[in-house]
Structures are given as structure tokens and as C-alpha cells.
């Protein structure tokens, strides 16, 4: 079974803190993604990566950065957390384009509250 593991299920941080959200997948997938889920807005893509050291902005990258030093690990970084970043964060991975037709495998999510 594909396993995508997010390191923290629940986090509470203060405004201005630096926040790291870690994600690890065990299926040797090339592609990894970070989404955030908010009521009524669905899942919105923050950043994605097609390979180690590569990253591309998604639809809402402002206030976030990412790191992919190893193939299996994709980290989301909030340099200075703000209250509007309170959300559910979902990591996903997939095989490369051409190897499948778009199915993403998601982690269980990290619910972040910024006070």
C-alpha cells in the first residue's frame, strides 16, 4: 500500500512563528504536492515538486516555501505564520506524467491553528 505520512496531525502556533510541516512517502514517487483545504474552497495547491531539488508554485504560494532534498521527503515551510494560514494541510504524491493518469495519494493531513 502507498503510504504518505505527515509528521504532525495537529499543531498550534503563534503569529510570527516559523512552522515546518513534513511529509514522507514510501512509494518512490517522483511527484509530491502540498494542498490546503478550507471549507467551501476545496483543496488548493500551494507548491509541487516533480523531482529532488525541484519546486514549482501552485495556485496560492504566497507566505509558503518548500524543500525537497530527498525524493521521499517534501517539506512545507511557513516563514512567519499568520492567522489566515490556519487550515488543514494535505501532502500528496504520485507517479510521473505518463505513468498514470493523475491519481494522487494523500496523507492524513496536518491541522494547523495559528493564534
Amino acid at each position: 500500500d502507498v503510504k504518505v505520512t505527515q509528521s504532525s496531525r495537529y499543531l498550534v502556533k503563534r503569529t510570527g512563528e516559523k512552522v515546518f510541516l513534513e511529509c514522507v512517502q514510501d512509494m518512490d514517487h517522483e511527484n509530491m504536492f502540498w494542498y490546503r483545504q478550507d471549507p467551501g474552497l476545496g483543496l488548493r495547491l500551494i507548491y509541487f515538486s516533480y523531482d529532488v531539488k525541484m519546486k514549482e508554485k501552485g495556485d496560492i504560494p504566497e507566505g509558503y516555501s518548500v524543500s525537497r532534498e530527498k525524493k521521499e521527503r517534501f517539506s512545507l515551510i511557513l516563514e512567519s505564520a499568520s492567522t489566515n494560514q490556519t487550515s488543514m494541510y494535505l501532502c500528496a504524491s504520485s507517479q510521473p506524467q505518463g505513468a498514470n493518469t493523475g491519481e494522487l495519494f494523500f496523507g492524513e493531513g496536518s491541522r494547523l491553528t495559528v493564534l
Binding site: A92, S94, L104, F106, E108
Partner: protein, 114 residues
């Protein structure tokens, strides 16, 4: 501007009856469509998909219909079961141009009453 829209935020249906979830999209480059199911405190899980070269795909109790001219797809669940109570997300991808990047709708919360 949302490229994928699910206009019904919630749906309530009696056990054994049909659930119909709708999804509209605006980007004509989308060529692959997926439905995901999400329980509270869990990540979304893949349910069923359809390529733009088809107009119907069936998997057990789940059928997805695609109307390209209307830029509309729907998910039918027959018969609905209490375990189907979840949030369902429609997603679309432009495989040829954007790889596996999915654009999601806002979700529809389904409640199946016993």
C-alpha cells in the same frame, strides 16, 4: 476564479436511494477527471476517474458521467449506504500540459440516512 465548481455544498439522501453529485468546469484543457472521497480527520482517497475520451465509467456502485460539451460531470452512487457519508471532491487535470497537477472543486458533503 474557480475552474472546478461543485455548486451543492451538501446532499442528504436516504439509504438505498441514489446520490447524484454534480461538478462543472471551465477550463477546456482539462482532459482527465477524478472523484475523491474524504472522511473527517483523514486524507482524501481516490474513488473513480474518467478520461475525456469517454462519457461514462462505472465501478461497482459508483458511476461517473462526463458531458464535455456542457463541461459537466456527475457522480452517481447507487445504492447509497451509510458508509458513503463523507465529503466528495471533484478534481480535474490537464494531463498533456500540466502533468499530475489536480484542480479541485469545493466539495459536497453527503449524508446518507439509515
Amino acid at each position: 476564479d474557480q475552474q472546478v465548481k461543485q455548486n451543492s455544498p451538501s446532499l442528504s439522501v436516504q439509504e438505498g436511494r441514489i446520490s447524484i453529485l454534480n461538478c462543472d468546469y471551465t477550463n477546456s484543457m482539462f482532459d482527465y477527471f477524478l472523484w475523491y472521497k474524504k472522511y473527517p480527520a483523514e486524507g482524501p482517497t481516490f474513488l473513480i476517474s474518467i478520461s475525456s475520451i469517454k462519457d461514462k465509467n462505472e465501478d461497482g456502485r459508483f458511476t461517473v458521467f462526463l458531458n464535455k460539451s456542457a463541461k459537466h460531470l456527475s457522480l452517481h452512487i447507487v445504492p447509497s449506504q451509510p458508509g458513503d457519508s463523507a465529503v466528495y471532491f471533484c478534481a480535474a487535470s490537464a494531463i498533456r500540459t500540466a502533468g499530475n497537477k489536480l484542480t479541485f472543486g469545493g466539495g459536497t458533503r453527503v449524508l446518507v440516512k439509515p
